[in-house]
Symmetry: C2
Subunit: 226 residues, 2 copies
Amino acid sequence: MRNAIPNILTAVNIVLGMFAIIFTFQGEFTCSALLIIAALVADGLDGRVARYFGVSSDFGKELDSLCDLVSFGVAPAILAYAFMLKDFGMAGYIIAAAFATCGALRLARFNVNTGSVKGYFMGLPIPTAGCVVATFVILGMKPSGWIFPLMVAIFAYLMVSTIRYPDFKGKGGEPVRLIPVAISVAVGVYILFLTLNAVLFVPFFVYSLFGILNTLFGLFDRHSAT
Amino acid sequence: MRNAIPNILTAVNIVLGMFAIIFTFQGEFTCSALLIIAALVADGLDGRVARYFGVSSDFGKELDSLCDLVSFGVAPAILAYAFMLKDFGMAGYIIAAAFATCGALRLARFNVNTGSVKGYFMGLPIPTAGCVVATFVILGMKPSGWIFPLMVAIFAYLMVSTIRYPDFKGKGGEPVRLIPVAISVAVGVYILFLTLNAVLFVPFFVYSLFGILNTLFGLFDRHSAT
């Protein structure tokens, strides 16, 4: 029974993801987005519970990736489509499909490279990308022109990029630089100043932005050291 | 470049699966079902192309499972929901989510057990389960009462069952018995006799039925041998 608990939490993750897709169907976008965030909680728990009980398994890891793709790849892509991408014709189709495809590529790469790098993730983790999209929908703001499709496309790309993101569970790895932290937190505070509704959006956005800035500053460090 | 071809086909698989979900949204159920079958073709090609070029990879295998879950787990579940399950309240939600969840469990089990059994699959393969649902929708027939929800639930269960299904690529394994072949083919011909629209549905249904009958007759064989 103890062995089953983490896998049950993983199953809760995919069930919430499926419910999110169905709620999107019914036009309940905020509900759908909240379900994606609830899936993140279940996803955050399963690995911890498995390690706590000492029952981590290959089966659990495979299942975890599969469920992550549904809750943080497919569900946010469909939500983004129904929220705004549907107004962009064929481009909307392609960007929604690209988001899920990049999520799958990210997960496959992570599973194959597992253990080879410690302390950071290569590319934005799919739960963060999915939650950026979901929490943006909660904001209820419909940006003009191509801003939203472009945003979804950029977050799809960040997943398959080689940008390094800190893994708070690991030790060492990529150094966290002060200036990128300061800039991304300042941007986060500024967004919160504009609208307190962004309270769920800001943490995911700040983390995403930080990775980009930290990599840029890292390139600068290495360049100046040569 | 040659190394990329099978992975591009796998990506085509998930893209078609995502398009299927979006078409379901727009009420184009037949289109959605045809896209799921198109995804099956892409899925059938990627492994063969990889073996032909001698470029099978762990990355490709991980990606393949992830994409299969979207095209044959999530897309058919959402199609089934929009087609009929939506009329069954909470039960509709749960059966749609269960179908995708069982698909994920099936894929995770397959990936962990890979290589341990040759010549047959344990549980109905997820592409078959997905295509049974998709091709049933093409029939355009809405069965009365709980028949459709029950059918979806049974096919979800068949995926995680221990029923053995022949793998035409492998050799040996579970023997194929004559009587189960005869009965399931006869049922298939009978359905075709009722409606020629079932031409896509019948192959998947016959394969699913055959596995059940073959396992039942297998139990009988072993029993009589004791």
